[in-house]
């Protein structure tokens, strides 16, 4: 187990984490401001990936594909918000779960109908493929390094948006007291649509960026959605900072657990059994992390204390 391998895996974990952050940030904003649990967020991720694959297939430009992904996901988000979600803000969580579950069915089967069941492929752009040599002689894929950069840049931008702009003030005010900011003359339904579109665009961006290293297929959004839930539970609902730290924790735990747990078990078990036990435990590692955080802090690391 060399230092190079460890650094590589840490970078992989970081890359996975920042992509989870793009999903979790939208979810946590939507929950924080509108009090809505949106299961269909994974569908917006999928919409982004499919839009990117379609546009890249026609134009061959990766930048255009990313723009299309964000645009398509934002448009889908606005449509869904105005047609369905808007009626659910006052409903209880059970209705929200069910209605957004219904939206997943419609999105998934609709996409399957439009694009077929076979996965699409989105290539990494030529200017970002191939390895780059990091200080210390570590070779690492340029594209994955770019993902880390994009993720951290989005996190910084989102932080500035929330803390430094007028929209950010309204979003924070909306998290604290919805009735009051409506009474102060903020067009609350426009703010809701805007937040939803922002969350959707981030999900779409994540879908397109990850779609280039995995395949683009129906159902790709839901596993990520559930991991994003784990992230939010760990970080605390409504907190962007919590989403970032939670996402990186989950990304690192999942990646490093998958690599190192089987090795750890090999220290005291037969190799075959160690690999099986280690990888089975690794698949549960993030949920065990979540359970531990819950025992320590039921509202997450940065969640509001009740």
């Amino acid at each position: 187990m060399s230092a190079i391998l460890i650094i590589e895996q840490v970078l992989n974990g970081l890359q996975f984490g920042v992509m989870l952050f793009l999903m979790a940030a939208g979810l946590t904003l939507i929950f924080g401001v509108m009090g809505l649990i949106n299961l269909a967020h994974g569908s917006l991720y999928m919409v982004g990936a499919f839009a990117a694959a379609a546009v890249a297939g026609v134009t061959g430009s990766f930048v255009l594909a990313l723009a299309a992904a964000m645009g398509a996901a934002a448009i889908a988000g606005v449509l869904v918000e105005t047609l369905v979600i808007r009626r659910l803000y006052r409903a209880d969580h059970l209705d929200q779960v069910l209605a957004t579950f219904a939206l997943i069915l419609i999105f998934s089967e609709g996409t399957r109908w439009a694009f077929g069941s076979f996965p699409l492929f989105l290539d990494t752009p030529s200017w970002a493929s191939g390895p780059v040599t990091l200080p210390g002689g570590i070779e690492y894929p340029k594209y994955r390094l770019m993902l880390i950069g994009v993720g951290l840049a989005v996190a910084a931008g989102l932080g500035l948006l929330i803390t430094r702009t007028r929209i950010g003030i309204q979003i924070r005010a909306g998290e604290n007291d919805r009735e009051m900011i409506a009474a102060l003359g903020v067009d609350i339904s426009r703010l809701y649509t805007l937040v939803f579109a922002l969350g959707a665009a981030l999900a779409g961006l994540a879908g397109a960026l990850v779609g280039a290293i995995q395949s683009v297929q129906v159902g790709m959004g839901e596993p990520v959605l559930i991991l994003a839930f784990v992230v939010i539970v760990i970080g605390g609902i409504g907190s962007i900072k919590g989403a970032l730290i939670g996402a990186i924790l989950v990304g690192l735990t999942d990646t490093l657990g998958g690599i190192f747990l089987p090795e750890v078990f090999k220290l005291f078990m037969a190799p075959a059994g160690a690999t099986a036990t280690g990888s089975a435990l690794a698949s549960m590692a993030i949920y065990i992390l979540m359970g531990a955080v819950l025992i320590w802090r039921p509202t997450g690391l940065f969640g509001a204390r009740p």
Binding site: D92, H93, L94, A99, I104, V233, A280, L294
Partner: protein, 327 residues
């Protein structure tokens, strides 16, 4: 008699009459469909104890459904391969006997529900939904990455397990057994909802503060309800695995949890027969729409949206003319 009672009576009549008709005209596939509906109904009635009575929106009940399924799969697998099951120092023989399998399924899913419930009930509302979903997913990934029992491919059981005095290989006899379990569970649910425990659970949902003031531990009441709910769903899982003679990680999938909730909402929350009617309608839709179009889930999604947005109270609420029992 109020209309809901008539509706319940009609449902029961259909549950007996349709398979009887299928037996007469020799349509074994209809009996299999009915068995599927009845087993789903058992699972949904189980979930309804937590969700309807306790207000605990669990999006992870597939965990218990799957544990029940694997309890059957693992025991029957060891029986059919004649390899004893070794758990640490213990050596157990596999079994093909349904009562033993059911008991194992209920105990293991009850223990899992106790653990998940203790952790999840530290939170409420939307956290609870996300956490139960995540724990459900944990079991899914564990089942996929654990190679001893088939991993992603699942386990096939060659011959359906036996029940003393019955030939479970005959579809109508297995159906009768499942219907009997459903009736027992429904009877239990009826008594539970009216028992002091059921009243305390109802109160803990509606006014947790007052329940504490009266001196009841509301959280403990909810935890017990969650465990009972998990036990029943686990039993349904064992029956479902026996129906298919196959278990796979898909029994743990979050879609399964979603479908269990759909049964309840489609039928009507916190109503005795709501989940039964919901499960029957779902299986019927799955069969009819699935035959019409490959993309039948789009129509199901649209139907669900309509129920949530416009028909609160589900089918029972619509037909019995009463609004939702509670929000």
């Amino acid at each position: 008699m109020i209309r809901e009672t008539w509706l319940n009576a009609a449902t029961l009549t259909l549950l007996v009459a349709v398979p009887a008709w299928a037996l007469v005209v020799d349509e074994p596939f209809t009996i299999t469909l009915a068995t599927r509906a009845v087993i789903f109904a058992i699972a949904a009635v189980g979930l309804n104890i937590a969700l309807g009575l306790g207000g605990l929106v669990s999006l992870g009940h597939a965990a218990f459904f799957g544990i029940g399924g694997y309890a059957m799969g693992i025991l029957a697998h060891h029986a059919q391969t004649y390899v004893p099951l070794e758990i640490g120092p213990l050596t157990l023989a596999g079994t093909k006997s349904m009562p033993v399998i059911w008991l194992t399924a209920m105990v293991t899913s009850g223990l899992a529900a106790l653990l998940i419930g203790m952790l999840s009930l530290r939170t409420a509302g939307v956290y609870f939904i996300m956490i139960t979903l995540a724990f459900g997913q944990m079991f899914y990934f564990f089942a996929i990455s654990w190679p001893a029992y088939g991993g992603e491919d699942g386990l096939s059981i060659y011959v359906r397990n036996g029940f003393p005095g019955l030939n479970t290989l005959v579809p109508i006899q297995f159906y009768g057994l499942c219907l009997g379990v459903l009736l027992l569970v429904l009877g239990g649910m009826f008594l539970l909802a009216r028992s002091p425990f059921g009243l305390a659970l109802n109160a803990a949902r509606q006014a947790p503060g007052r329940v504490e003031t009266v001196g009841l531990n509301g959280q403990r009441v909810k935890l017990v309800a969650f465990v009972i709910s998990g036990v029943i769903t686990g039993l349904a899982g064992a029956l479902f695995a026996d129906l298919n003679r196959f278990v796979a990680p898909t029994m743990f999938s979050w879609q399964m949890s979603g479908e269990l909730i759909i049964f309840i909402i489609l039928g009507g929350t916190a109503r005795l027969f709501g989940p039964v009617i919901g499960a029957c309608v779902f299986v019927l839709l799955e069969h009819l729409l699935g035959g019409l179009s490959e993309f039948w889930l789009v129509y199901l999604g649209a139907l669900l949206l309509i129920v949530v947005l416009f028909a609160r109270g589900g089918i029972v609420g619509l037909l019995s003319g009463r609004r939702a029992v509670h929000d």
